[in-house]
Symmetry: C2
Subunit: 678 residues, 2 copies
């Protein structure tokens, strides 16, 4: 937004700009100037926005869209299109202008005029769902790039499965200095380099300016050397030279490694005084500078007016992929795997999986295994992985702890993408972002594991999944003080509450093997957002003997009713449900009858009718039990309710001792009931 930078120190940029503008403009330049003019106009109209990046990267984007990007503006959601990710999402007008100029429906000049206004598809930052050609929501820096790694990986994995005739596209990213300064860029680039994702290309808007001024204020790194260290191919070019741009993109197309192209640009290219300064990054140019910029660019048109002779080559670019797409459709029509390919790309689950899960759950009701819920999750995966071939797993280097790997899953390897399991490395945020990319790409359903406490590391990507409505499934084990000796750094306390507070996330904390299976069913069916399976390290007894339907899908339910009027209702989640059941038994022996409610998912329970909620919660004293912060429990407990859980951080000791130490015990529950409920 505002900036402290003044416009000084940009003499070199202005000189370079003047030299370029002194040349006779090519058709490419005039096409690029249309992007610049639209960006100027839209930001002026909104009196808000970021003109600097679209103006700086217009030339590079023109070359990409005109000559390289495989797309058909008439069918923006064509499955084999190249993916284009504007990681520097604040430069959203670059994308909107490109979509408009190439003739995409739904991004007319009227839409551009409503840039940054309510209900406009041209929102402040690109928002997934607002237009089919917006591949993802960007803005939180670094995440566009990190997500694109998942897209590029999904392409390779699907190509390995369905063949090059159906799946053969590239992923292009425009990233700024901010994207590359963010830590997640390291995780993403290291993973992409390791996996040799050679169809991924990053165009780095190397303009040496960030909000606080010259990037030299805060960084001295040799970014291309860094990327080379990851195993990337690198190029440095003049980002305003069309020949160099075309040569670099052609080089990237042939590279055996992912490629980063440093496009040396002038931020706000065309602005006669502000170009090359932070002042042009995030604010309207202002009337006079805007007018002067257009004049300097040789753009003599009214605001939001693009002449026909500029539209013509842009529309040609928009239609360039049509024949390629038609040829692809023909190949698809006669492809032996057509039905399966269409199924996975449409996100339809395979037939039979639900029945297989039902049978598995019935078996659990029979055998009543005592398992840690992370083990129960692995057992569920042993059923789901063969039944749902598009399910692909992974872990951030905790495979043996998260129990995310099951038989028949080979690891994805550099150059060999036939596996179904991704060793993400110690890169939680990169993993979560890549999972978003895999889900957004389509054709695969990603799940990935880490310790629950490290959900903090990937929180920004979980948020983006929630915002986009992306089906990413997180397997988050070691979910409380129950992990024991590793201590407070590894013991989640506030994480349940903090994620329950996030819109459009399902936080599922099952209490036994059947609930864990149900939670997996819920997660698989939840196509509209991320699901978090919050699972225990330590074992829990089987609590359910009936596995019909899916009780977890209601969020909370009466697991064991009182034998008579309720003296209290004990509401618990996860590993604490078995404590509640033990307390119930103890109390019954003393003639006190309580109900136990298992509440694996607050969000789903909140969606139930108030009648159902009242029925479950009852009118008796309510006692909540969860080995976590009680923040947010008041909603279910009411003002008289008692919460038994954590009030601060955990400690390092064996789990049983910690439960005693923090007073989360059968005895505490019994005492709470008797104190109030006698």
């Amino acid at each position: 937004m505002a900036s402290i930078a003044d416009n000084s120190g940009n003499e070199a940029a202005l000189k370079r700009q003047a030299e370029i503008l002194a040349q006779q403009p090519s058709e490419d330049r005039m096409m690029a100037n249309a992007i610049r003019a639209l960006a100027i106009d839209a930001v002026e109209a909104a009196k808000s926005g970021h003109p600097g990046m679209p103006m700086g990267m217009a030339d590079a984007a023109t070359v990409l869209y005109r000559k390289f990007l495989k797309f058909d503006a008439a069918v923006p959601d064509w499955w084999d299109r190249d993916r284009f990710v504007l990681s520097a999402g604040h430069g959203s007008m670059l994308l909107y202008a490109l979509l408009h100029l190439t003739g995409h429906e739904g991004m007319g000049i009227e839409q551009l005029k409503t840039f940054r206004q309510l209900h406009s598809p041209a929102a402040g930052h690109p928002e997934y769902g607002e237009h089919p050609a917006i591949e993802m929501t960007t803005g939180p820096l670094g995440q566009g790039f990190a997500t694109s790694v998942g897209m590029a990986l999904a392409e390779r994995m699907l190509a390995a499965k369905f063949g090059k005739s159906l799946v053969d596209h590239r992923t292009w990213v425009v990233a700024g200095d901010g994207c590359l300064q963010e830590g997640v860029s390291h995780e993403a680039a290291a993973l992409a380099g390791h996996l040799k994702l050679n169809k991924l290309t990053v165009l780095w808007d190397d303009n040496s300016i960030s909000i606080d001024g010259a990037t030299s204020v805060s960084t001295s790194e040799d970014t291309l050397k860094r990327f080379a260290a990851y195993g990337w191919a690198t190029r440095r070019i003049d980002g305003h030279n069309f020949e160099e741009l075309a040569a670099a993109l052609a080089f990237a197309q042939k590279s055996s490694k992912p490629t980063i192209i440093a496009c040396r640009t002038v931020i706000g290219f065309g602005a006669p005084t502000k170009a090359g300064t932070a002042g042009v990054h995030g604010a309207a140019l202002g009337g006079a500078e805007a007018e002067a910029a257009k004049k300097a660019l040789g753009w003599n048109h009214l605001p939001f007016v693009v002449p026909e002779e500029i539209y013509a080559p842009w529309h040609e670019a928009g239609a360039r992929g049509a024949s390629t797409r038609r040829a692809w459709l023909k190949r698809l029509a006669k492809h032996p795997m057509r039905a399966e390919f269409e199924r996975v790309m449409q996100g339809k689950l395979p037939e039979g999986w639900a029945e297989t899960m039902s049978a598995y759950k019935a078996q659990l009701a029979e055998t009543k295994p005592k398992l840690a819920t992370r083990q129960a999750s692995q057992k569920a995966l042993e059923v789901l992985v063969p039944a749902i071939p598009e399910l692909v797993g992974g872990s951030a280097d905790l495979t043996g702890s998260n129990l995310t790997l099951v038989k028949g899953m080979a690891g994805v390897e550099p150059g060999n993408y036939a596996g179904r399991y991704i060793y993400y490395g110690i890169r939680e945020f990169g993993m979560a972002a890549a999972m978003n990319g895999i889900a957004l790409h389509g054709g695969l359903i990603p799940y990935g594991g880490t310790f629950f406490v490290f959900s903090d590391y990937m929180r920004p990507a979980i948020r983006l999944a929630a915002l986009m409505g992306t089906r990413a499934i997180h397997v988050l084990t070691h979910d409380s003080i129950g992990l024991g000796e590793d201590g407070p750094t590894h013991q989640p306390v506030e994480h349940l509450a903090s994620l329950r507070a996030m819109p459009n996330v399902l936080v599922l904390r099952p209490s036994d093997a059947i609930e864990t299976a149900e939670a997996w069913e819920v997660a698989i069916k939840n196509t509209k957002g991320p699901s978090l399976l919050v699972l225990s390290r330590q074992g829990v007894p089987a609590l359910r003997d009936v596995a019909n339907g899916n009780k977890t899908a209601r969020g909370a339910y009466v697991l064991a009713e009182a034998n008579g009027p309720r003296a209290a209702t004990i509401i618990a989640t996860g590993t604490e449900v078995s404590l509640a059941m033990a307390a119930k038994k103890k109390l019954a022996g003393q003639g006190v009858e309580v109900a136990v409610v298992s509440a694996p998912c607050f969000e789903l329970f909140a969606q139930q009718s108030s009648e159902y909620q009242k029925e479950v919660l009852g009118t008796a004293l309510r006692i909540g039990v969860e080995a976590a912060s009680g923040f947010g429990w008041e909603r279910w407990l009411g003002p008289e309710g008692i919460f038994i859980g954590m009030t601060g951080f955990g400690a390092s000791a064996p789990a049983e001792i910690l439960y005693e130490h923090f007073g989360i015990t059968e005895a505490a529950i019994v005492a709470a009931v008797k104190q109030e409920g006698n």
Copy 2:
């Protein structure tokens, strides 16, 4: 914890180990073997822990503690000691063994025997506060390293201020593959390289093993090349060769850049079958392997027994710094800046600052400025920065938006550390970790800014600050949909709740300039944990005309009482308090009398007496107003209460339109009161 890796594939490691063990052991090796034996014994006793790293890095640690680290075991909190950070915190037994062997009080053999047991200073991961020689809590990977950058920077800044005769120490870090795969390592290393923190040295335990097996499963990067790209000096050595180790550490001491030394080690060095495998990373060796390891190491002593001839050189190492420390004390005694140095290192605030703030607040009560609270924060800083010389600021590249820079603060520059403002770059997590390091070092009070929504990026470091009780002050602006056009990616919704759920954090959301000043006072005085100032982009009217005392310090208070019995109590925070005041006025005109409670800090309000809480909240209908998720508000509103706020993500549009769109308006408050309160 558990691991999927088997013990195969470690032939090369075992061969190398055998060659080394075939040599006649030097005194260094025997000293290192004491570390190994203690690590083995403690993990065996606890039946839990991570022997692999201590065994692998014992040789390097021996050289560091015996010849390089400046410390005096008798006075572990000596201000001019070198800082040692075990970033790979799971290898905690390395640190505990070192502290024990060098003769630190409070880490006797009895303490080692209680490794990972409740109340032991030898917790699962090193925990700040458990022993004075534990510089920080580590375990969440990457953060030890990132925090050490702040420590090293604090040393340079204090040296610039007080001179080399008082401040002249180094920061040493032991980091593992996990630390360096984490994204935050990129942010931290880039910042350290940029700032030329040449007194920072990282010993990388380069053992090629992580939990999922060989690191080659997930990474192919050339890490030293990456660090060279950041401007670091690099060395690759045999981590079991004492001469190479000593030469590399001596090289680091003379380097003009921060230095990373890749110590090629065998993880679990000494374990005859498991060395060089993931199997030795995070589990006890088991009786037979433990015994065989000791035999292979030539260690013929009972568990937890160290012979006197090994203690002797270790104790000598522990006392090595005593004379240096005494000389330093003499310099301090006659140093002209002694009093000021002692004051800042003791964390005592300067005289007069409180009075200056009181005068400033009185002036606000007089002038009643309409300001965005971020502007009010800047005005408070204009008072605080001159009054508290140890206050050092910064921003993650949003200086002009966060308004964190005030007159008289020069920027910290590479090689010139006299400034008080740090341009952290687009590195929120790295910033927050560095701030923790600055605070832990002592002598400085750090504050740093970013957008509130990006608190997600630095959440793991905020958590560590909360866990350690570190005074880090976060200036988090653009705190709601009130930021407008940037849209949902930039609009915090769940962040207030998610941070209120975290133990030991003060989340302060002031409503006007006076409350903002009070929030700053609270934050400055809060020496026991992080404080978050959550501030608006948009302007708010002055609401208070009295500025005596500090009402914010009580968390919530009656800002405007009802003129008669309350028909309702409207509880609001931040920018919504002025909405509540407008609604009160409107209602009064209609003959309906309500009280308005401003609640800038839930945590502080929760600490008040229940009498005070009841008095403030009243018995009438309660209406909560906050442009955020209502999660957690039930505690204050009760079951009949009404919450006016957000139920999902925001949108891109001008702020006023968004408030209308989401129904957070004066009219909505009025309607809520009248519907229930008539």
